[in-house]
């Protein structure tokens, strides 16, 4: 699927995460080879089925695990070359689950500990986030509800105003009101234009609302980075009436799948809607109806294809 694929020089020159030739081998799982360049000033969502390697990729980006081959550059610095501690102060991270070790600390105690490590810590920002998320920081973290703990952890990741924010399934456990607040908080964080978010998410609506770029990862392989609007415009289901003629549907640009859909109407899925429509037009086929695919439907198609190939 070439349509919508982000090309070099397509506002991608300024990259914040640069991964080259990365390979990580585990007994039951292999990640890579990964080639990935994530642009500055944008929100990039990494989406893929469970166990596809999203969290492994996050751990690698944080230096929490090491690749067997290849290199990672974050904010222009190569990971693992020197002490990464000062680099990490420029990064904010929200892990997928809360850290149990902290359960007995109160919110205030944890913040007092964390703020020492971050020169960029901004007390006013931290207080404002607590207020917006309606968090009581006097509570012990273990006593907070799942949603409040999530909001607290997010506030903590944002309080030092990182240049790069890594979010692993940010909305897990949030109610719809907290979710809306989170979306707004993240948009505001991005407002300046020089900050970057990389997030893993399963929630279609969240990706639709936040992401500028989408990276698909299936079975440890990156399938590509796509500009969101172009991607969503290029994947379509078309209902085409060829008047009973036999057409070489598989030659249609971007052809993914097709089947008869009653009468002389053929239902066909393409990932190059614009070119497909011109192709149909040239064959004098009428498009009766078209529907855009949702992100999860695109992911299903890509996953099935990857499973067939691998």
């Amino acid at each position: 699927m070439e349509a919508g694929k982000a090309k070099e020089g397509d506002n991608m020159t300024d990259s914040v995460v640069e991964i080259a030739g990365l390979l990580q081998r585990r007994t039951h799982f292999e990640l890579g080879p990964v080639e990935l360049s994530i642009p500055k000033g944008c929100v990039t969502a990494i989406i893929g089925p469970n166990g596809s390697g999203k969290s492994s990729l996050f751990r690698l980006m944080l230096g929490l695990s090491k690749p067997d081959e290849g290199s990672l550059h974050l904010l222009g610095e190569r990971l693992g070359e020197r002490d990464d501690a000062s680099l990490m102060t420029r990064i904010g991270y929200l892990p997928e689950g809360a850290i149990e070790l902290d359960d007995r600390l109160s919110g205030e105690a944890k913040a007092a500990f964390v703020r020492q490590w971050y020169p960029g810590w901004n007390e006013a920002v931290y207080r404002e986030l607590l207020r917006r998320f309606e968090i009581n920081p006097a509570l012990k973290l273990g006593r907070m509800s799942k949603g409040m703990r999530r909001k607290y952890d997010l506030s903590l990741a944002l309080a030092h105003q990182p240049e790069l924010l890594l979010l692993d399934e940010p909305s897990s456990g949030l109610d719809p009101i907290a979710w809306k607040t989170m979306i707004d908080v993240l948009h505001r964080y991005m407002e300046r234009g020089d900050r970057t978010i990389v997030m893993a998410s399963h929630i279609v609506e969240e990706v639709r609302r936040l992401a500028d770029y989408i990276v698909f990862i299936v079975q440890g392989r990156i399938l590509g980075i796509y500009e969101k609007d172009a991607l969503l415009a290029s994947w379509q289901t078309m209902y085409a009436d060829a008047g009973g003629r036999d057409l070489a549907w598989q030659q249609m640009p971007g052809y993914r799948s097709g089947e008869m859909s009653g009468g002389t109407v053929y239902k066909v899925v393409t990932d190059q809607a614009f070119e497909a429509e011109r192709w149909l037009d040239a064959q004098s086929v009428t498009v009766i109806n078209r529907q855009k695919l949702e992100l999860d439907e695109i992911l299903v198609q890509l996953t099935e294809q990857a499973r067939g190939v691998l």
Binding site: C42, H187, M190, E191, G193, D212, Y213, D229
Partner: protein, 148 residues
């Protein structure tokens, strides 16, 4: 600042084009007067649920057309629109709507006269002074005048 832009998700027209057409119309019609500070790229992206790449493209296109100007560090503003441009835009916005109507009419085989009659009927109905008028057949009553 909220900008009245309505997107049709299922349209074959690309989103950037839909936004561009509507924003251009708002500027040229004067609904967004000269000097108006537009939302930041991220803000408009949030409002329209588009990516910043799409919005950046719209702003750049309209800047190239001379309808917008960006001042480093302050934001993007509506530039001065000349009269000729405004007239062209007014005309082309209306013409597009009429073409859509004509297409719908031709598809179901109305004659030119019938279509013109229907346009007149619509005009009569919509002019405030025509509020009390009755409209039966809809055809051949183009000559009727209302002077309140």
């Amino acid at each position: 600042m909220w900008i009245p832009i309505q997107l049709n998700e299922q349209s074959a027209e690309p989103l950037y084009h839909q936004i561009e057409v509507q924003l251009r119309a708002l500027i040229v019609s004067g609904q967004l007067p000269e000097g108006t500070l537009l939302p930041s790229i991220r803000e408009l992206a949030q409002q329209t649920k588009c990516s910043v790449i799409t919005i950046r493209r719209v702003y750049q296109d309209l800047e190239n057309e001379g309808l917008l100007r960006t001042r480093q560090g302050t934001g993007t503003f509506v530039a001065q629109v000349d009269g000729q441009q405004r007239d062209n835009q007014r005309r082309s916005a209306v013409m597009t709507a009429i073409e859509t109507a004509a297409e719908a009419g031709l598809r179901v085989h109305y004659t030119d006269d019938e279509l013109i009659g229907m346009l007149r009927e619509a005009l009569l109905r919509m002019r405030p002074a025509a509020g009390e008028a009755e409209h039966g057949s809809g055809q051949g009553e183009g000559g009727r005048q209302h002077d309140g």
